[in-house]
Point group: none
Chain length 253, copies 2
């Protein structure tokens, strides 16, 4: 009893092309070939095909399946254990993806407006938040009401798209500063980057006057939460930024 491609295909629920492919790569060769060149399979090949499909279903590649089926000595259990870990990792990633998608949907719906922390890996948004919460009153007293005016209003209106842009820009500026760290805080490129940082704040959050900017530099070092956030980019960046920002402000006078 022999079967032709289509019969095998229907029995096993795969396409004819798949059988051709398995033949090509030597994974499942027909028992014989008719004079006309037709592939002829027997029950044995059907059995092997079952095995192939099983391993495929649990995620092995055709190459791996070949290894497993062609080597009776192959350590199937070890392969399965290794493979399970891979699958677990994939699932973890999938779940993270699902969570992120959920959050994004929520933020679009405006239900839970996706906290800043979530928005961009807790980074600089939290810095701004801290600044707002902790020093708002002080700043207001010191520099006038205008300082924090509208920050909330402005930031709350930003879309996810906006945040992504803003944070990308911030990352870029930090990268630029880091690139010049070895040259010290007075380095022209560093100073340029610091200028961009101030412009970035002014453009996106509040009017960052030289006085405020100077104070913000201090804050980066004095408030450990700021320091931690900033130093995530590079060890010592916070302290370095403080110096550079002071130099920058002094040069403005």
């Amino acid at each position: 009893m022999s079967y032709k491609v289509k019969e095998v295909a229907e029995i096993a629920g795969v396409s004819v092309r798949t059988l051709h492919h398995y033949d090509e790569i030597g994974l499942l060769t027909p028992k014989s070939v008719s004079r006309a060149g037709y592939r002829l399979y027997t029950e044995y090949e059907l059995g092997r095909l079952q095995h192939i499909l099983f391993f495929k279903e649990i995620g092995f590649s055709l190459d791996e399946i070949k290894q497993i089926l062609d080597n009776p000595d192959f350590d199937q259990k070890q392969a399965l254990l290794t493979h399970r870990e891979l699958l677990e990792q994939k699932r973890q990633r999938l779940e993270t993806m699902i969570q992120t998608v959920n959050k994004t949907i929520e933020s679009i719906e405006g239900g839970t407006p996706m906290s800043h922390k979530e928005k961009f890996d807790g980074f600089d948004m939290s810095a701004i938040e801290e600044y707002k919460n902790k020093y708002e009153a002080e700043a207001r007293a010191k520099y006038g009401d205008s300082t924090m005016d509208g920050v909330n209003k402005r930031t709350s209106g930003y879309s996810k798209q906006d945040w992504s842009n803003i944070m990308g820009e911030n990352e870029r500026i930090y990268a630029k500063v880091i690139a010049g760290m070895d040259n010290g805080p007075t380095d022209p490129m560093v100073q340029e980057a610091v200028g961009e940082l101030r412009a970035w704040i002014t453009n996106n959050f509040y009017d960052c006057t030289p006085e405020i900017f100077y104070g913000l530099g201090d804050l980066y070092v004095m408030d450990e939460r700021f320091t931690a956030n900033i130093d995530k980019h590079k060890e010592g960046l916070a302290a370095f930024l403080r110096e550079a920002m002071h130099v920058y402000c002094d040069n403005l006078k």
Copy 2:
């Protein structure tokens, strides 16, 4: 200010080839090209690249990303919803695969095949049942009819395979909580797991609002049948879960 390929690549953490590729397919074209043919990017392109990477991370194809980014009118929410379903399906398949691998490993070991029914026998099913029977009326009165709507309908349609998957997932979540028990209920991993627990309920049974979830936490401790079932996994887990669930809900406000 313009950037050449390598600069952009380093800032964004992608390969130069990737940028070439994005250019080829029209996903991210440089702002301009120098006389020598060098690609020159600006901040705008960096921002767009951020967007691209975000969508890529949550599993969209480059083609889909192009659609999304090039059509401001594009229904992002719908795209995300559709996409989430895809992800859910993938996850389901992965879980089935993992279960199958596990069974295969067990059968190789020749040990007791230990059916999943055995493993999870009467566990969370009973919890859900209890919840349903005992608090249905109360919940209905408190949170509106919608709360328990369709639970019966949904659960009755689940196959044995479905239950196995669902319960496997529940086990995983509990294991995650237990892993962080020593760090207290506010531990990030615990909180993450609790979030997954809520998502798990919402996905498989009913829309688990924060209010319901909060109440469910209490239930775990107040109803001895729940407590017994949960503490089977680990002594004191029920009480710990209650705390963690309350913390979780409080943080949502």
